[in-house]
Symmetry: C2
Subunit: 158 residues, 2 copies
């Protein structure tokens, strides 16, 4: 038996610009020893664009804004602070970064990488929240990975 | 930009029988709300065939034995107990299960699923070990998932 060939499909929710930024952000994270899961469902019901986990267990959320309108229509981004130690925006080259809040980190990205223009302040998670998020992160990533290798595997609602 | 198409390749280390059992085990786990990562590198340097994580954060190791010889030549399986709450063997149909130790769980599997013939006893992990294993599990799964979507992403040595 050969391993099944993964057949992922773009989900159609994201613009090409957002997908390029997402890829660049994940490459940037990996180059710094950090892993990221995209479209991560939080216990609140919202989805974070990228939830990132470093080698010490610290959690960052990276919100991708592909356009000014994309940022202006999102009034709820401060809610993400309750689910991370650090909150950052990631935007494409040419985005008017001066409209973004100063109290968040800032990554500027293209499809090939990203640069950290402003480090995010740290607001440490409670231990119980970190534990629950890490477990959810682990289960989300592993279920997606297994489902790519075996399309008939059950997708869990994590 | 479209998302890259994952291009995983069989790594050649496993027999067709072991791969079939692995797939059946992962399907069995998913059907019970449990996620698994294959070929999981432990801090000891050994690799567990499957590390499984349930919704409460409990960790199982499932060792796949595709043949009697495969079991006879592994004298080190008891070492896995230090890295899990529960230890199981998974074997193909027709394996002489009476040669396996009674103090481990037992799954009999084919490529389409598995049946739990003997539930594993629980030996709870210390909290610090569980925390470290969960983090390693999360980072391993997420890095593999991201690398499937982007072959140029850095593979981390987790």
């Amino acid at each position: 038996m050969r391993q099944s060939e993964p057949q992922p499909r773009p989900d159609g929710r994201q613009s090409p610009t957002a997908l390029a930024v997402q890829r660049g952000v994940l490459r940037h994270l990996a180059a710094h020893g950090v892993v990221g899961v995209t479209e991560f469902s939080l216990a609140s019901g919202r989805r974070a664009d990228v939830l990132a986990l470093d080698g010490r267990g610290e959690i960052s959320i990276i919100e991708i804004k592909s356009s000014v309108q994309d940022f202006r229509t999102d009034g709820k981004w401060p809610e993400y602070r309750a689910f991370c130690d650090r909150l950052l925006f990631a935007v494409p080259l040419g985005f008017p970064v001066e409209i973004l809040p100063q109290e968040t980190g800032l990554l500027v990205a293209d499809a090939f990488g990203a640069e950290l223009l402003r480090p995010p302040p740290r607001h440490a998670l409670p231990a119980a929240t970190r534990k629950a998020l890490t477990l959810r992160f682990a289960r989300t990533a592993a279920n997606r990975l297994a489902a790519l290798h075996d399309p008939d595997l059950l997708r869990l609602d994590i």
